[in-house]
Symmetry: C2
Subunit: 398 residues, 2 copies
DNA sequence: CATTACTTAATAAACTTAATTAAATAATTT
DNA sequence: AAATTATTTAATTAAGTTTATTAAGTAATG
């Protein structure tokens, strides 16, 4: 409840250690102590705690690996975030696909791949049914929590989807309750003296997709803790990370950069308003503009990507990019970050597009003279983001 | 250096107590303990600490004041933030006026008034000279710090003004060093055995004006910890407070909502760019638009205010308000707050203007359906903001 | 190769800070 | 005087620190 109790110190330190490991990979206790500014003793104790809880593991000594030259002294044991057994279920609910995986306590590292993926059905009951069919195959027992990323506007504490223009059934759905009904993973082996029960339903935590993406990006490059992430998919989202923290109040509504109105734009948006930037810059909007400019071309995303690769940034696209630039600069100015990270559709269109956007942003952002604004693309790291959110549940539960 | 040491707990708790007192006025130790969720013992100890440091004081028992009926038991001693002797110097450097005051450890409460005010001279040396002339009259000895609010873009940690379109000399000035040369307040009385020395120059802390305003607003209504503050003066600034925290990364540039570009606006901005919203919506921009619409009218701020009171929101003003609305909605969408607080020029134009702005914002903000966005005006509380910033220096010094 | 010196890692012991709970004391009202 | 609430005192606990010790390596040397 209150804030200033001794246990908070331990949680703070445990969390710092886990985040460091998540970010920079295995390290010895001594390394951790040095980097985090804690004493070696405390670091050792916290690490021991985390080892006992199964959150960390000790790497087996590798006699083969030669130490760096000039490295003297007793070598430290490398510890790392335990990856087995899986303790979390992550569920990415997307407009086109649903992805499902059991994750170790501290999330997947790169290249782990997804266990299960299926096309998202068009309504809730069908989705739940498909999910149940696949859930049985999960390699998980006694999951700690289920982390669910959802596109649209999400009231995370309440577990409600407030607005989902592309998956309307979500708005009426009580996702946490629905998901309680799913049986996750293989049943626990029958313990002596009690019924052979399935794993109890884990608590469900909703995460707004754009927030998951931002957390993932932050985890991937934790040294770069200041950026504006802009994602383009069926919609458009934007989230600000500053000082290594994802900016968002306790209010449910954030990250909805896509619904910034653009003067002179009269397209209807799924949110009910008119003129939102995402009607121009997200996938459907780009396709619509493309079709308008080239009615004879096939109206498909692959065709558009190909077209842009060949023909470069045509005026209709340039105009959209300039409008995106204005919206991005607005966000930059308020919070004071210098890096813009683009993911999704606009990133797929290639470096020329990114370059034009970058030029626009650099031209409009007021502090061009103090150090250029950077505009880079990155892959989506939704999974890593969910894992990071999950980590908090393990290490720093309320 | 590191984060998780025992002393941090004490600082956290001391700060929580001070902020509570700053926000809600005097309270007993028992009240504080209950509200903050700390034990009575801890609360007592922290309060004793703060009393010993002179940051808190005990209110004299008032036999006359009748207790609330049904209040049994030993009455608690009311403690409050000490107001004497002054320990801080606050300095508001404005385009038009400079204001100077000595504040008690925990800032002024309402209606305290300013001790000294003078028109800001046109260059640094003149300003420093005027400042020195007035500084002698300050009722302060041994000031802890000098809190200085500055309009424009400020690198707070470095103590540099990066951009100040309206006071160009600031950009080259090393304010902290300049202010070291000023002798503050009356010299200490000659102590036996040492020279009769003036007070040593206190450390100087720069605060971006818009941040000071936001902190002040937050301190004034701490229960309302989520808002976007938009201030209109010679320029325009915007700052986001969410969850009771002022959002800003470690980077110096933030709050510069005024430099969001508006498509189709070709006015040159003092920042060097073209089309910034502040060329339309800040005081000079409003006056320019007014003069354009009514060339025969006197081009002065009082005349404009009067005109708007009489003639209401004319098209030229409505258009500007809609453009401001777009910029505001952009900021709202990203960070997810519901209250927009307007201070300065636009607030002075009266409730009709605020109403139009409010309508625009409500229409454009995507979540009109989840609960109306509020748009209210408030007085500037720069002084209280500086006081809050100062409080952090006393209670939670690094 | 075996031994010794040196370096760094990890742990143990003693101590410090700041929280906690439990009990005692103080100041009012009924 | 009894009840009630506020504050303080004393003892305990949690989690940090420093200092000292032990462990596990490399480097130098006979």
């Amino acid at each position: 409840m209150s804030i200033g109790q001794p246990i908070h110190l331990r949680r703070l330190n445990a969390r710092a250690i886990c985040q460091r490991l998540l970010a920079h990979g295995p390290a010895s206790r001594a390394d951790l102590a040095k980097v985090l500014g804690l004493s070696a003793v405390t670091t050792g104790k916290v690490v021991d705690d985390l080892l006992a809880q199964g959150i960390l593991q000790i790497a087996p000594a590798d006699k083969e690996a030669p130490r760096k030259t000039n490295e003297l002294g007793r070598p430290g044991q490398q510890v790392f975030l335990a990856r087995t057994p899986p303790r979390f279920i992550t569920l990415q609910l997307g407009v086109r696909h649903t992805r499902l995986a059991a994750l170790p306590a501290a999330g997947p590292l790169a290249g782990e791949g997804w266990l299960i993926q299926f096309p998202t059905p068009a309504d809730g009951p069908a989705w739940l049914k498909a999910l149940q069919a696949h859930a049985d195959n999960l390699q998980v027992t006694d999951p700690i929590a289920l982390m669910l990323s959802v596109p649209g506007v999400v009231d995370e504490p309440a577990g409600r989807v407030l607005l989902s223009p592309n998956l309307h059934w979500l708005e009426a759905a009580d996702l946490p309750r629905m998901l309680q009904e799913v049986t996750w993973g293989t049943p626990s082996p029958p313990a002596p003296g009690r019924q052979n029960a399935a794993s109890p339903a884990p608590p469900v935590h909703l995460v707004q997709e754009i927030r998951a993406l931002a957390l993932g990006q932050l985890a991937a490059e934790p040294a770069e803790g200041d950026f504006l992430l802009v994602d383009f998919g069926q919609g458009m989202g934007g989230a600000v990370v500053a000082g290594g923290r994802l900016m968002a109040g306790p209010l449910p509504l954030s990250g909805e950069l896509g619904h910034t109105p653009v003067l002179g734009n009269h397209r209807k948006c799924g949110c009910g308003a008119t003129g939102c930037i995402e009607t121009l810059a997200a996938r459907p909007g780009l396709l619509a503009s493309f079709a308008q400019a080239h009615p004879q071309q096939e109206r498909s995303w692959p065709r558009l990507v190909e077209w842009v690769q060949v023909n470069g940034v045509e005026p209709w696209l340039r105009q959209t990019l300039e409008q995106v630039g204005v919206v991005v600069v607005g966000a930059l100015n308020v919070v004071g970050v210098r890096r813009v990270i683009v993911t999704g559709a606009l990133a797929e269109l290639g470096s020329q597009v990114l370059e034009v956007l970058s030029q626009t942003v650099k031209r409009s952002a007021m502090w061009g003279r103090f150090g250029a604004v950077e505009c880079v693309s990155a892959p989506r790291r939704r999974a890593l983001g969910l894992a990071t959110a999950a980590l908090d549940r393990v290490v720093a539960p309320e």
